[in-house]
């Protein structure tokens, strides 16, 4: 696989946007700038390789449907921040870490191996409840945002995940 050249400008530009989006939604980027820039560079490389920015610290298959849960921000980010203070690669951290009150370290992998993956637990409401709903309810698998409308939004207003990261919740 050929290496691509990632310029410092590319890294700065994406870092700036990620930071802005994160802070506007109550998320925090790792305050260690060098560390964060290396991860952002990894995201740019993966975007170039696979056409989607999969987690720099996970092995991507190259098939979007199989990697959908590890496209940054991944489906496991929020749970890992809550439990460990950072996501798996540590691009995103908790408020305590962002303020330097807590340190981050490597954390265990929450994602199940491919052969153990099961379909996301589906909530099956009673039909009478369904019948009274005027709209289906969609859930963002990244941040848990719920909305009742005919289709999910193109971009999650909270975490900026794309439409395909939504699942039918009710």
């Amino acid at each position: 696989m050929n290496d691509i050249t990632v310029t410092q400008d590319d890294v700065n530009s994406l870092s700036f946007h990620l930071k802005k989006d994160a802070e506007s939604a109550g998320y925090y980027l790792n305050p260690d700038t060098g560390f964060t820039q290396d991860l952002v560079k990894g995201l740019i490389i993966n975007e170039h390789r696979y056409s989607y920015p999969s987690c720099p610290c996970r092995l991507a298959s190259g098939v979007k449907e199989k990697d959908i849960d590890i496209i940054c921000p991944c489906d496991y980010r929020d749970s890992d921040i809550n439990e460990y203070g950072s996501c798996y690669c540590a691009l995103y951290v908790s408020q305590a870490v962002s303020q330097g009150k807590k340190k981050v370290g490597p954390i265990p992998e929450r994602r199940l191996p491919a052969n153990q993956k099961t379909k996301v637990h589906k909530v099956i409401p009673k039909t009478e409840i369904l019948a009274t709903l005027s709209y289906p309810v969609w859930r963002c698998r990244v941040c848990g945002y719920l909305c009742a409308r005919q289709e999910p939004p193109d971009i999650c207003p909270i975490c900026k995940a794309t439409k395909e990261r939504f699942e039918r919740f009710i």
Partner: protein, 93 residues
Amino acid sequence: MEWIHNEGKNKGKVILYALSTCVWCNKTKELLKDLGIEFSYLYVDKLSKKDFEKVLEDVKHWNPACSFPIIVINDKKCIVGFKENDIREAFKK
């Protein structure tokens, strides 16, 4: 397949499976270099399709979760993740 060799003290056969974009893999590689150990490493994300399939079997053997970095010592002991204390301990002697 491109194994990259790092010269150093011989502590047995030490190999590292890593991802080129992974910050924790890089920290692991730098730690091994700081410890002055002879080892070889492979960037699994940079392999050709053919080599990838072959290497993936080895990787799964050592770590079914397929998470990185993976250090394998003498085809016996395996350390998954940037576990700094475990790594230092393993090469103490």
